[in-house]
């Protein structure tokens, strides 16, 4: 038995797992992070300055806003193959409780089927639990219900939206 997680073991070079899951870094702008998001939604590229500005805004939220990425350490350019976001909403209800919101989960089309998205989502759920959230929620298409069920999610309601 070891308590070393697969990710930290990979980081320490103790396994052959080439995937390193870590928090987003400023330099990920050059590792295809924005291009990866474009596989999820409309996502024009950002200049380095625009990326840095948004990065700083989110970093100022500390552990209330976490973006995880899966880096391919086996490739020279160390591309980002998957990502997912968690932000923590502080409420007055539930005794001043907190809700974790999972957003913007996407896996590069060429890297799907390897469980990268599930690893990221499970890690985000752990982070939310450790932060004291009483629940974690996300919205998805009906087709993805079974996918998120693998991470312990159950259907709870309907998502409504207004687009401007």
């Amino acid at each position: 038995m070891t308590t070393t997680s697969p990710e930290s073991a990979a980081a320490a070079g103790e396994t052959n797992d080439p995937i390193y899951i870590r928090r987003l870094e400023l330099s990920d702008h050059e590792r295809g992070f924005v291009a990866l998001l474009s596989q999820l939604s409309t996502c024009p590229d950002l200049t380095a300055s625009e990326f840095a500005t948004r990065f700083a805004e989110l970093a100022a939220q500390g552990d209330d806003h976490v973006i995880l990425v899966a880096e391919d350490t086996s490739a020279p350019e160390r591309r980002i193959l998957a990502t997912g976001c968690l932000f923590v909403e502080r409420k007055f209800l539930r005794g001043g409780g907190k809700t974790g919101h999972v957003e913007d989960v996407v896996v590069d089309a060429a890297a799907r089927g390897r469980g990268l998205g599930l690893r990221i989502v499970r890690r985000l759920v752990e982070i939310a639990r450790d932060a004291g959230c009483y629940k974690v929620i996300l919205d998805c298409t009906p087709e993805l219900r079974a996918y998120y069920a693998k991470c312990g999610f159950v259907e709870k309601g309907v998502q409504m939206a207004v687009y401007f």
Copy 2:
């Protein structure tokens, strides 16, 4: 024609509308705000200190976190009859876009049917649009689809949740 909104007119005493819609204030702890939330979810009362701490945390988010309340100005105790929350999530996708999240909408059981919830939600949607959000989303039970449709919301997906 006048451009004065019903709420600002009421605030100025220009109409007989006793409902004043405004942002949450620290003193709303004594106007039944927490008790109102208990009609939505598990919501033990907070001490004045606990309420003030959470209030300050949220106030620090500025216009990225807005709680509106409907105050009954006709009652001596000026109770809070309805509330709703909007918070703004900053993203990297959509050219560094923003999403508005509507949460914790509740109307006092004795004040339902007067359109207070709709007035609050419509105002939150306006605030989100003015803040530059490209969309506003919320989660609800299937029974509330028609209610939110009155504010322009359409069904978009399913909400999934993990409870700890």
